[in-house]
């Protein structure tokens, strides 16, 4: 029973990670790429929660969730800062136009 719930609860993260990966690889807009990365981290949060539940509440799993939430915040902040800087310099927000970051 526990095992089945765990397997289901880990399949959803697998799908979320794959979806996020597709988004991050295929989208051109910086904002949409960040949404893809967020989906990946979202899946990881769900996976960590599932292991927490099935593994007898190891505290490491909940610490991992804290780390992941922080990673998300850091990624958002830095991502938008860089996007803003590129946009200020070049007026672009598509990755294909920003292949060369020098200057």
């Amino acid at each position: 029973m526990t095992e089945l719930v765990l397997r289901i609860a880990l399949t959803a993260p697998a799908a979320l990670v794959a979806t996020g990966l597709y988004g991050a690889l295929s989208q051109q807009s910086v904002v949409m790429i960040m949404m893809g990365l967020e989906l990946v981290v979202n899946g990881l949060i769900l996976g960590a929660g599932a292991f927490w539940w099935a593994g007898g509440a190891p505290v490491v799993a909940s610490v991992l969730i804290v780390v992941l939430v922080t990673v998300m915040a850091v990624e958002m902040a830095m991502g938008f800062a860089v996007a803003l800087a590129i946009y200020r310099a070049r007026q672009v927000d598509l990755t294909d136009d920003a292949e060369e970051l020098a200057g």
Binding site: A18, T19, V31, V69, M78
Partner: protein
């Protein structure tokens, strides 16, 4: 528990997929929020009440901030034109499907060690009777996992400094910034 996890897991995945098919940035952002909230509700169902609530709180704020940038940077915020901004769609799909297949195969084939007592205990595995999950987390962060906590703190500080340094325009003078206040 099975019903809850399957239903909300499906909601999270479907809204996640719709993020990349929606033709409006506003809709994409809020579908992403829906995905996060589904995951957070599963966490609360697992017994991680504090972390689930914090995920809802943080993600709502984060999506609201994302909305600002979306309208600032996107050429097509309102979905007036169909939005297809993809490159290498086929390759991306292939990679994503392969990853999904590998992960799922791993999930269903690896034998998970079942905690003693959980198998006989029936439906409710979850947190063993013990200290409150929130208290346990706080204890760990301020005790055994102090190094993690300090690293996170430093990372956040570095992010604050780095973000401000990158985002503030060089042309924008101090006087100009004082002008709005």
């Amino acid at each position: 528990m099975i019903a809850l996890v399957s239903a909300l897991g499906a909601v999270a995945v479907v809204t996640g997929l719709l993020v990349f098919t929606a033709d409006s940035m506003a809709r994409a952002t809020f579908l992403l929020l829906g995905s996060f909230v589904a995951v957070a509700v599963v966490l609360i169902g697992f017994g991680l009440g504090y972390l689930g609530t914090v995920v809802i709180l943080m993600m709502t704020i984060e999506m609201m901030i994302m909305v600002v940038f979306m309208v600032m940077l996107m050429m097509n915020p309102a979905g007036l034109m169909p939005m297809t901004m993809v490159h290498n769609r086929r390759g991306s799909w292939a990679i994503a499907l392969v990853v999904f297949g590998l992960l799922t195969a791993g999930v269903w084939l690896v034998p998970f060690p079942v905690r003693a007592g959980a198998a006989t205990g029936g439906v409710t595995s979850g947190p063993a009777a013990g200290p409150d999950a929130t208290v346990a987390l706080g204890d760990a962060l301020m005790g055994g996992q102090m190094l993690t906590m300090m690293t996170l703190g430093l990372a956040l500080l570095a992010t604050i400094v780095g973000t401000v340094a990158v985002a503030v325009s060089r042309r924008e003078g101090r006087a100009e910034r004082r002008g709005i206040s």
